[in-house]
Protein backbone atom coordinates (compact mmCIF):
# COMPACT_ATOMS: atom_id res chain seq x y z
CA UNK A 1 0.00 0.00 0.00
CA UNK A 2 3.00 2.29 -0.15
CA UNK A 3 2.99 3.08 -3.86
CA UNK A 4 2.30 6.60 -5.02
CA UNK A 5 -1.21 6.73 -6.42
CA UNK A 6 -1.95 8.89 -9.48
CA UNK A 7 -4.26 11.82 -8.82
CA UNK A 8 -6.73 10.66 -11.45
CA UNK A 9 -7.12 7.13 -10.07
CA UNK A 10 -10.70 6.36 -9.01
CA UNK A 11 -11.06 5.56 -5.30
CA UNK A 12 -14.80 5.53 -4.63
CA UNK A 13 -16.56 3.87 -7.55
CA UNK A 14 -20.09 4.57 -6.30
CA UNK A 15 -19.55 8.33 -6.15
CA UNK A 16 -16.68 8.51 -8.68
CA UNK A 17 -14.14 10.20 -6.41
CA UNK A 18 -10.46 10.30 -7.39
CA UNK A 19 -7.20 10.23 -5.42
CA UNK A 20 -6.70 13.90 -6.33
CA UNK A 21 -10.01 14.87 -4.73
CA UNK A 22 -9.09 12.92 -1.57
CA UNK A 23 -5.76 14.76 -1.41
CA UNK A 24 -7.52 18.13 -1.83
CA UNK A 25 -9.84 17.24 1.09
CA UNK A 26 -6.78 16.48 3.24
CA UNK A 27 -5.34 19.88 2.31
CA UNK A 28 -8.63 21.39 3.50
CA UNK A 29 -8.21 19.74 6.90
CA UNK A 30 -9.67 16.23 6.66
CA UNK A 31 -7.86 13.85 8.98
CA UNK A 32 -9.97 10.73 8.95
CA UNK A 33 -12.32 8.71 6.77
CA UNK A 34 -15.35 10.67 7.96
CA UNK A 35 -13.68 14.00 7.20
CA UNK A 36 -12.88 12.77 3.68
CA UNK A 37 -16.40 11.53 3.24
CA UNK A 38 -18.04 14.84 4.13
CA UNK A 39 -15.72 16.81 1.89
CA UNK A 40 -15.82 14.51 -1.16
CA UNK A 41 -18.75 12.04 -0.83
CA UNK A 42 -16.27 9.10 -0.97
CA UNK A 43 -18.07 6.29 0.89
CA UNK A 44 -21.52 7.84 0.69
CA UNK A 45 -22.78 5.69 -2.18
CA UNK A 46 -24.59 2.40 -2.40
CA UNK A 47 -21.77 0.31 -0.91
CA UNK A 48 -21.24 2.77 1.96
CA UNK A 49 -17.46 2.61 1.72
CA UNK A 50 -17.11 -1.16 1.71
CA UNK A 51 -14.89 -0.96 -1.37
CA UNK A 52 -13.00 2.29 -0.85
CA UNK A 53 -12.57 2.71 2.88
CA UNK A 54 -9.25 0.82 3.06
CA UNK A 55 -7.90 2.80 0.14
CA UNK A 56 -9.01 6.10 1.66
CA UNK A 57 -7.25 5.09 4.88
CA UNK A 58 -4.10 4.25 2.95
CA UNK A 59 -4.08 7.66 1.24
CA UNK A 60 -4.66 9.40 4.58
CA UNK A 61 -1.73 7.49 6.12
CA UNK A 62 0.48 8.41 3.21
CA UNK A 63 -0.42 12.10 3.16
CA UNK A 64 -0.43 12.62 6.94
CA UNK A 65 2.48 10.22 7.62
CA UNK A 66 0.38 8.51 10.28
CA UNK A 67 0.65 4.99 11.60
CA UNK A 68 -2.18 2.63 10.53
CA UNK A 69 -3.87 2.62 13.95
CA UNK A 70 -4.11 6.44 13.95
CA UNK A 71 -6.56 6.55 11.03
CA UNK A 72 -9.99 5.65 12.34
CA UNK A 73 -12.63 3.91 10.25
CA UNK A 74 -15.97 5.45 9.28
CA UNK A 75 -18.76 5.37 11.87
CA UNK A 76 -20.71 2.15 11.51
CA UNK A 77 -24.42 2.85 10.94
CA UNK A 78 -27.40 0.69 10.12
CA UNK A 79 -28.40 -1.06 7.93
CA UNK A 80 -25.72 -3.72 7.44
CA UNK A 81 -26.93 -4.03 3.84
CA UNK A 82 -29.55 -2.02 1.93
CA UNK A 83 -33.14 -2.85 2.77
CA UNK A 84 -36.29 -1.52 1.13
CA UNK A 85 -38.30 1.07 3.05
CA UNK A 86 -41.24 -1.32 2.63
CA UNK A 87 -39.55 -4.22 4.39
CA UNK A 88 -38.32 -1.91 7.12
CA UNK A 89 -41.73 -0.29 7.61
CA UNK A 90 -43.42 -3.68 7.86
CA UNK A 91 -40.87 -4.77 10.45
CA UNK A 92 -39.33 -7.48 8.27
CA UNK A 93 -35.92 -7.10 9.86
CA UNK A 94 -33.83 -9.23 12.16
Amino acid sequence: MSQNYDDDMLVCRCEEITVGEIREAIRQGARDVTGIKRRTRAGMGLCQGRTCEKLVQAILRQELCNAPEEISAATPRPPVRPITFGALGRGEVE
Binding site: G35, L88, G89
Partner: protein, 399 residues
Protein backbone atom coordinates in the same frame (compact mmCIF):
# COMPACT_ATOMS: atom_id res chain seq x y z
CA UNK B 1 -1.09 30.64 19.59
CA UNK B 2 -1.29 34.38 19.92
CA UNK B 3 -4.16 36.73 20.51
CA UNK B 4 -7.33 37.39 18.55
CA UNK B 5 -10.15 39.95 18.60
CA UNK B 6 -12.68 37.16 18.90
CA UNK B 7 -12.60 33.41 19.56
CA UNK B 8 -15.57 31.47 18.22
CA UNK B 9 -16.10 28.09 19.87
CA UNK B 10 -17.84 25.42 17.79
CA UNK B 11 -17.53 24.83 14.04
CA UNK B 12 -21.05 23.83 13.11
CA UNK B 13 -23.30 25.87 10.84
CA UNK B 14 -23.79 28.61 13.44
CA UNK B 15 -20.14 28.83 14.56
CA UNK B 16 -18.73 28.84 11.03
CA UNK B 17 -21.25 31.48 9.95
CA UNK B 18 -20.42 33.63 12.98
CA UNK B 19 -16.69 33.21 12.26
CA UNK B 20 -17.19 34.12 8.59
CA UNK B 21 -19.31 37.21 9.27
CA UNK B 22 -16.94 38.48 11.97
CA UNK B 23 -13.90 37.98 9.74
CA UNK B 24 -15.70 39.77 6.94
CA UNK B 25 -16.39 42.71 9.31
CA UNK B 26 -12.64 43.03 9.83
CA UNK B 27 -12.19 41.25 13.16
CA UNK B 28 -9.24 38.91 13.69
CA UNK B 29 -10.98 35.66 14.45
CA UNK B 30 -9.97 32.22 15.72
CA UNK B 31 -12.40 29.35 15.26
CA UNK B 32 -11.88 26.62 17.86
CA UNK B 33 -13.45 23.20 17.44
CA UNK B 34 -13.01 20.00 19.45
CA UNK B 35 -13.31 17.73 16.41
CA UNK B 36 -13.44 18.38 12.68
CA UNK B 37 -15.52 21.12 11.06
CA UNK B 38 -19.19 20.08 10.89
CA UNK B 39 -18.64 16.94 12.93
CA UNK B 40 -21.51 17.40 15.39
CA UNK B 41 -25.09 18.46 14.80
CA UNK B 42 -24.45 20.02 11.38
CA UNK B 43 -23.59 16.69 9.76
CA UNK B 44 -26.32 14.73 11.52
CA UNK B 45 -29.30 16.78 10.40
CA UNK B 46 -31.42 17.64 7.41
CA UNK B 47 -30.62 20.17 4.75
CA UNK B 48 -33.17 22.93 4.55
CA UNK B 49 -33.75 26.58 5.29
CA UNK B 50 -37.46 27.13 5.71
CA UNK B 51 -39.93 29.73 6.75
CA UNK B 52 -42.97 27.47 6.54
CA UNK B 53 -42.17 25.80 9.85
CA UNK B 54 -41.63 29.02 11.77
CA UNK B 55 -44.07 30.81 14.02
CA UNK B 56 -45.36 34.14 12.69
CA UNK B 57 -43.24 37.03 13.95
CA UNK B 58 -39.53 37.06 14.74
CA UNK B 59 -39.10 33.35 14.05
CA UNK B 60 -40.29 33.74 10.43
CA UNK B 61 -38.54 37.09 10.08
CA UNK B 62 -35.21 35.45 10.96
CA UNK B 63 -35.91 32.48 8.71
CA UNK B 64 -36.65 34.70 5.74
CA UNK B 65 -33.66 36.98 6.36
CA UNK B 66 -31.41 33.93 6.64
CA UNK B 67 -32.53 32.61 3.26
CA UNK B 68 -31.64 36.02 1.77
CA UNK B 69 -28.16 35.73 3.31
CA UNK B 70 -27.67 32.25 1.79
CA UNK B 71 -28.89 33.49 -1.57
CA UNK B 72 -26.30 36.27 -1.62
CA UNK B 73 -23.49 34.05 -0.37
CA UNK B 74 -24.25 31.36 -2.93
CA UNK B 75 -23.48 33.95 -5.61
CA UNK B 76 -20.44 35.33 -3.81
CA UNK B 77 -18.69 32.14 -2.64
CA UNK B 78 -16.54 30.05 -4.93
CA UNK B 79 -17.19 27.04 -2.63
CA UNK B 80 -20.49 25.53 -3.74
CA UNK B 81 -22.77 24.63 -0.81
CA UNK B 82 -25.53 23.44 -3.12
CA UNK B 83 -27.98 26.21 -2.31
CA UNK B 84 -31.19 26.03 -4.29
CA UNK B 85 -34.70 27.28 -3.79
CA UNK B 86 -37.28 24.71 -4.85
CA UNK B 87 -39.94 25.79 -2.33
CA UNK B 88 -41.56 23.40 0.11
CA UNK B 89 -44.87 21.64 0.50
CA UNK B 90 -46.70 21.04 3.77
CA UNK B 91 -49.41 18.41 3.40
CA UNK B 92 -52.60 18.03 5.41
CA UNK B 93 -54.28 14.70 6.11
CA UNK B 94 -57.55 15.99 7.52
CA UNK B 95 -59.95 18.92 7.16
CA UNK B 96 -59.11 19.95 10.71
CA UNK B 97 -55.41 20.22 9.86
CA UNK B 98 -56.28 22.08 6.68
CA UNK B 99 -58.23 24.68 8.67
CA UNK B 100 -55.35 25.30 11.09
CA UNK B 101 -53.00 25.50 8.09
CA UNK B 102 -55.24 28.01 6.28
CA UNK B 103 -55.34 30.23 9.39
CA UNK B 104 -51.58 30.07 9.71
CA UNK B 105 -51.09 30.94 6.02
CA UNK B 106 -53.41 33.94 6.37
CA UNK B 107 -51.23 35.34 9.16
CA UNK B 108 -48.04 34.77 7.18
CA UNK B 109 -49.53 36.31 4.03
CA UNK B 110 -50.55 39.37 6.03
CA UNK B 111 -46.88 39.72 6.99
CA UNK B 112 -46.00 39.60 3.31
CA UNK B 113 -44.61 36.07 2.93
CA UNK B 114 -45.11 34.08 -0.29
CA UNK B 115 -47.11 31.18 1.08
CA UNK B 116 -50.41 29.87 -0.23
CA UNK B 117 -52.85 26.99 0.13
CA UNK B 118 -52.88 24.39 -2.65
CA UNK B 119 -55.63 21.90 -3.48
CA UNK B 120 -55.09 18.15 -4.00
CA UNK B 121 -55.06 18.57 -7.78
CA UNK B 122 -52.25 21.12 -7.70
CA UNK B 123 -50.35 19.04 -5.13
CA UNK B 124 -50.42 16.08 -7.52
CA UNK B 125 -49.00 18.27 -10.25
CA UNK B 126 -46.20 19.40 -7.97
CA UNK B 127 -45.55 15.95 -6.50
CA UNK B 128 -46.94 13.16 -8.70
CA UNK B 129 -45.94 10.38 -6.28
CA UNK B 130 -47.68 11.89 -3.28
CA UNK B 131 -50.51 9.83 -1.73
CA UNK B 132 -53.83 10.63 -3.43
CA UNK B 133 -56.04 10.93 -0.34
CA UNK B 134 -54.60 14.15 1.13
CA UNK B 135 -56.89 17.16 1.50
CA UNK B 136 -54.47 19.93 0.51
CA UNK B 137 -51.41 21.74 1.65
CA UNK B 138 -49.28 24.85 1.95
CA UNK B 139 -46.78 25.79 -0.70
CA UNK B 140 -43.99 28.12 0.41
CA UNK B 141 -42.05 29.67 -2.40
CA UNK B 142 -38.90 31.00 -0.64
CA UNK B 143 -38.05 27.70 1.10
CA UNK B 144 -34.57 26.49 0.28
CA UNK B 145 -32.20 23.63 0.54
CA UNK B 146 -28.42 23.16 0.77
CA UNK B 147 -25.79 20.72 1.98
CA UNK B 148 -25.39 21.43 5.70
CA UNK B 149 -21.77 20.31 6.03
CA UNK B 150 -20.76 21.92 2.74
CA UNK B 151 -22.26 25.11 4.12
CA UNK B 152 -19.84 24.86 7.08
CA UNK B 153 -16.87 24.09 4.81
CA UNK B 154 -17.87 27.01 2.56
CA UNK B 155 -17.98 29.47 5.47
CA UNK B 156 -14.58 28.23 6.67
CA UNK B 157 -12.84 28.18 3.28
CA UNK B 158 -14.17 31.63 2.34
CA UNK B 159 -13.28 33.09 5.76
CA UNK B 160 -9.77 31.59 5.59
CA UNK B 161 -9.20 33.72 2.47
CA UNK B 162 -10.00 36.76 4.64
CA UNK B 163 -7.70 35.73 7.47
CA UNK B 164 -9.68 33.36 9.71
CA UNK B 165 -7.49 30.98 11.74
CA UNK B 166 -8.96 27.54 12.38
CA UNK B 167 -7.97 25.50 15.43
CA UNK B 168 -9.74 22.21 14.79
CA UNK B 169 -9.11 19.26 17.11
CA UNK B 170 -8.63 21.72 19.97
CA UNK B 171 -10.84 21.09 23.00
CA UNK B 172 -11.88 24.08 25.10
CA UNK B 173 -11.19 23.37 28.76
CA UNK B 174 -11.94 26.73 30.29
CA UNK B 175 -12.59 30.43 29.74
CA UNK B 176 -10.14 32.76 31.43
CA UNK B 177 -11.63 35.82 33.15
CA UNK B 178 -9.73 38.80 34.56
CA UNK B 179 -10.15 40.25 38.07
CA UNK B 180 -13.11 42.32 36.82
CA UNK B 181 -14.84 39.20 35.53
CA UNK B 182 -14.38 39.97 31.83
CA UNK B 183 -13.17 37.49 29.24
CA UNK B 184 -9.39 37.34 28.90
CA UNK B 185 -8.71 34.09 27.07
CA UNK B 186 -9.78 30.65 25.97
CA UNK B 187 -7.95 27.67 27.44
CA UNK B 188 -7.66 24.64 25.16
CA UNK B 189 -5.94 21.28 25.60
CA UNK B 190 -3.23 22.60 23.27
CA UNK B 191 -2.64 26.05 24.69
CA UNK B 192 -4.38 29.27 25.65
CA UNK B 193 -5.62 31.85 23.16
CA UNK B 194 -5.74 35.45 24.36
CA UNK B 195 -8.93 37.31 23.54
CA UNK B 196 -11.39 39.77 25.05
CA UNK B 197 -14.36 38.21 23.31
CA UNK B 198 -15.59 34.65 23.02
CA UNK B 199 -18.71 33.40 21.24
CA UNK B 200 -20.27 30.19 22.52
CA UNK B 201 -21.56 28.42 19.39
CA UNK B 202 -21.56 25.02 21.06
CA UNK B 203 -25.04 23.97 19.92
CA UNK B 204 -26.13 21.07 22.15
CA UNK B 205 -22.83 21.45 24.04
CA UNK B 206 -23.40 25.16 24.76
CA UNK B 207 -24.54 24.34 28.29
CA UNK B 208 -21.18 22.72 29.02
CA UNK B 209 -19.32 25.81 27.73
CA UNK B 210 -21.55 27.99 29.91
CA UNK B 211 -20.77 26.04 33.06
CA UNK B 212 -17.09 26.91 32.64
CA UNK B 213 -17.96 30.45 33.68
CA UNK B 214 -20.84 29.58 36.00
CA UNK B 215 -23.66 30.21 33.51
CA UNK B 216 -26.82 28.12 33.54
CA UNK B 217 -27.65 28.00 29.80
CA UNK B 218 -30.92 26.10 29.25
CA UNK B 219 -29.91 24.29 26.06
CA UNK B 220 -30.34 20.52 25.94
CA UNK B 221 -29.68 17.79 23.37
CA UNK B 222 -32.77 16.62 21.51
CA UNK B 223 -32.30 13.60 19.31
CA UNK B 224 -33.53 13.14 15.76
CA UNK B 225 -33.18 10.28 13.27
CA UNK B 226 -33.03 10.36 9.46
CA UNK B 227 -32.96 7.58 6.84
CA UNK B 228 -31.12 7.93 3.50
CA UNK B 229 -32.21 6.24 0.28
CA UNK B 230 -30.08 4.88 -2.50
CA UNK B 231 -29.78 7.07 -5.61
CA UNK B 232 -33.10 6.98 -7.42
CA UNK B 233 -35.06 8.67 -10.15
CA UNK B 234 -36.85 11.73 -8.75
CA UNK B 235 -39.33 10.74 -6.06
CA UNK B 236 -40.03 14.25 -4.79
CA UNK B 237 -39.12 17.68 -6.11
CA UNK B 238 -38.82 19.63 -2.87
CA UNK B 239 -39.13 19.29 0.87
CA UNK B 240 -42.49 17.67 1.57
CA UNK B 241 -43.66 17.22 5.14
CA UNK B 242 -46.79 16.64 7.12
CA UNK B 243 -48.44 19.57 8.79
CA UNK B 244 -48.53 17.42 11.91
CA UNK B 245 -44.77 17.95 12.11
CA UNK B 246 -45.34 21.60 12.95
CA UNK B 247 -47.96 20.63 15.49
CA UNK B 248 -45.57 18.18 17.15
CA UNK B 249 -42.81 20.79 17.15
CA UNK B 250 -44.80 23.36 19.08
CA UNK B 251 -45.90 21.67 22.23
CA UNK B 252 -48.49 24.32 23.02
CA UNK B 253 -50.75 23.13 20.22
CA UNK B 254 -52.72 20.12 21.36
CA UNK B 255 -53.45 18.06 18.29
CA UNK B 256 -53.82 14.33 17.86
CA UNK B 257 -52.96 12.63 14.59
CA UNK B 258 -54.45 9.37 13.42
CA UNK B 259 -51.22 7.35 13.50
CA UNK B 260 -50.02 3.93 14.64
CA UNK B 261 -48.87 3.34 18.19
CA UNK B 262 -45.28 3.01 16.99
CA UNK B 263 -45.34 6.37 15.19
CA UNK B 264 -46.99 8.03 18.19
CA UNK B 265 -44.61 6.47 20.69
CA UNK B 266 -41.52 7.79 18.93
CA UNK B 267 -42.94 11.21 18.06
CA UNK B 268 -42.38 10.52 14.35
CA UNK B 269 -43.54 13.00 11.74
CA UNK B 270 -43.05 12.49 8.04
CA UNK B 271 -40.70 14.65 6.04
CA UNK B 272 -38.79 13.94 2.88
CA UNK B 273 -36.25 15.97 0.92
CA UNK B 274 -34.34 15.31 -2.29
CA UNK B 275 -30.57 15.87 -2.31
CA UNK B 276 -28.34 17.12 -5.11
CA UNK B 277 -26.79 13.64 -5.15
CA UNK B 278 -30.15 12.07 -6.17
CA UNK B 279 -30.80 10.39 -2.84
CA UNK B 280 -33.57 11.49 -0.56
CA UNK B 281 -33.62 11.97 3.19
CA UNK B 282 -36.59 10.60 5.10
CA UNK B 283 -37.33 11.73 8.63
CA UNK B 284 -37.90 12.26 11.37
CA UNK B 285 -38.53 12.29 15.06
CA UNK B 286 -37.69 14.23 18.19
CA UNK B 287 -36.85 12.74 21.56
CA UNK B 288 -34.76 13.46 24.62
CA UNK B 289 -32.07 10.80 25.06
CA UNK B 290 -29.15 12.85 26.33
CA UNK B 291 -26.17 12.74 23.97
CA UNK B 292 -26.86 9.17 22.82
CA UNK B 293 -26.93 9.13 19.02
CA UNK B 294 -27.33 5.42 18.45
CA UNK B 295 -30.03 4.82 15.87
CA UNK B 296 -32.84 2.63 17.15
CA UNK B 297 -34.43 0.08 14.85
CA UNK B 298 -37.94 0.81 16.18
CA UNK B 299 -37.56 4.50 15.33
CA UNK B 300 -36.26 3.62 11.85
CA UNK B 301 -39.24 1.36 11.34
CA UNK B 302 -41.69 4.05 12.43
CA UNK B 303 -40.09 6.61 10.09
CA UNK B 304 -40.30 4.17 7.14
CA UNK B 305 -43.92 3.35 7.96
CA UNK B 306 -44.88 7.02 8.12
CA UNK B 307 -42.93 7.81 4.93
CA UNK B 308 -44.74 5.12 2.94
CA UNK B 309 -48.10 6.55 4.05
CA UNK B 310 -47.30 9.79 2.19
CA UNK B 311 -45.08 8.44 -0.63
CA UNK B 312 -46.16 4.82 -1.26
CA UNK B 313 -43.63 4.55 -4.10
CA UNK B 314 -40.66 4.44 -1.68
CA UNK B 315 -41.76 1.03 -0.46
CA UNK B 316 -39.65 -0.57 -3.20
CA UNK B 317 -36.66 1.76 -2.84
CA UNK B 318 -33.63 0.84 -0.75
CA UNK B 319 -32.47 2.59 2.37
CA UNK B 320 -28.67 2.61 2.54
CA UNK B 321 -28.01 4.42 5.79
CA UNK B 322 -29.64 5.75 8.93
CA UNK B 323 -28.21 8.26 11.35
CA UNK B 324 -29.17 10.16 14.45
CA UNK B 325 -27.98 13.46 15.81
CA UNK B 326 -28.67 15.84 18.66
CA UNK B 327 -30.23 19.26 18.11
CA UNK B 328 -29.79 22.08 20.60
CA UNK B 329 -33.23 22.52 22.15
CA UNK B 330 -33.49 25.81 24.02
CA UNK B 331 -36.05 26.49 26.72
CA UNK B 332 -38.89 28.49 25.14
CA UNK B 333 -37.92 27.41 21.58
CA UNK B 334 -36.13 30.61 20.53
CA UNK B 335 -32.32 30.55 20.25
CA UNK B 336 -30.01 32.72 22.36
CA UNK B 337 -28.13 35.38 20.40
CA UNK B 338 -26.62 38.01 22.71
CA UNK B 339 -23.81 39.11 24.94
CA UNK B 340 -24.02 37.94 28.54
CA UNK B 341 -24.45 40.92 30.86
CA UNK B 342 -22.69 39.34 33.83
CA UNK B 343 -19.56 38.45 31.85
CA UNK B 344 -18.38 41.21 29.52
CA UNK B 345 -16.96 39.69 26.37
CA UNK B 346 -18.92 36.42 26.62
CA UNK B 347 -21.43 35.97 23.80
CA UNK B 348 -23.86 33.15 23.08
CA UNK B 349 -25.20 32.13 19.67
CA UNK B 350 -26.81 28.75 20.22
CA UNK B 351 -30.02 26.88 20.91
CA UNK B 352 -31.54 26.82 17.42
CA UNK B 353 -32.80 23.25 17.80
CA UNK B 354 -33.81 21.98 14.35
CA UNK B 355 -33.30 25.42 12.79
CA UNK B 356 -29.53 25.72 13.11
CA UNK B 357 -28.85 25.34 9.40
CA UNK B 358 -31.88 27.43 8.55
CA UNK B 359 -30.97 30.33 10.85
CA UNK B 360 -27.17 30.11 10.67
CA UNK B 361 -26.94 32.75 7.94
CA UNK B 362 -28.79 35.47 9.82
CA UNK B 363 -27.30 34.43 13.19
CA UNK B 364 -23.76 35.03 11.92
CA UNK B 365 -24.80 38.35 10.48
CA UNK B 366 -26.46 39.45 13.73
CA UNK B 367 -23.50 38.47 15.93
CA UNK B 368 -21.19 40.49 13.68
CA UNK B 369 -23.55 43.46 13.96
CA UNK B 370 -23.78 43.17 17.75
CA UNK B 371 -20.03 42.96 18.08
CA UNK B 372 -19.38 45.88 15.75
CA UNK B 373 -21.79 47.96 17.84
CA UNK B 374 -24.17 48.32 14.92
CA UNK B 375 -27.91 48.05 15.08
CA UNK B 376 -29.15 44.58 14.16
CA UNK B 377 -31.40 44.18 11.12
CA UNK B 378 -34.38 43.79 13.40
CA UNK B 379 -35.22 43.80 17.08
CA UNK B 380 -33.72 40.70 18.69
CA UNK B 381 -34.33 41.54 22.33
CA UNK B 382 -36.34 38.31 22.56
CA UNK B 383 -33.16 36.36 21.88
CA UNK B 384 -31.29 37.91 24.80
CA UNK B 385 -29.82 35.56 27.39
CA UNK B 386 -31.10 37.89 30.12
CA UNK B 387 -34.57 36.41 29.60
CA UNK B 388 -33.47 33.51 31.81
CA UNK B 389 -32.24 35.74 34.63
CA UNK B 390 -32.79 34.27 38.08
CA UNK B 391 -33.86 30.89 36.71
CA UNK B 392 -32.08 27.59 37.27
CA UNK B 393 -32.40 24.48 35.16
CA UNK B 394 -31.91 20.78 35.82
CA UNK B 395 -29.35 18.96 33.68
CA UNK B 396 -31.65 16.21 32.51
CA UNK B 397 -34.50 16.68 30.11
CA UNK B 398 -37.13 13.98 30.07
CA UNK B 399 -40.12 13.51 27.80
Amino acid sequence: MNSFDVVVVGAGAVGTSVAYHLTKKGFEVALVERGDIASGTSSHCDAVALICDKKPGIDTQMGYASIQVFKELAKEFSYDFEFHQPGSLYVCETDQEYEVAADYVKQQQADGYAMRMVDPYEMQEMEPYLAKDLVGGIWTEPDSSMSPYKLCFAFVEEAKKLGLKVFDHHTVQGIKLNEKGSVEGVITDRGTIKTKRVVNCGGPWARELGKMVGLDIPIFPRKGTILISEKTARVCNQKVHEFGYMLSKFEDINFKRNVSELVEKHNVAFNIEPTKADNFLLGGNREYKGFDINTEIEVMRAIAERGIRFFPIISEINMIRAYSGVRPYCEGHLPIVSEVEEIPGYFIAAGHEGDGISLSGITGRMVAQIMAGEETDFDISKLNFSRFKGQTFADDMAE
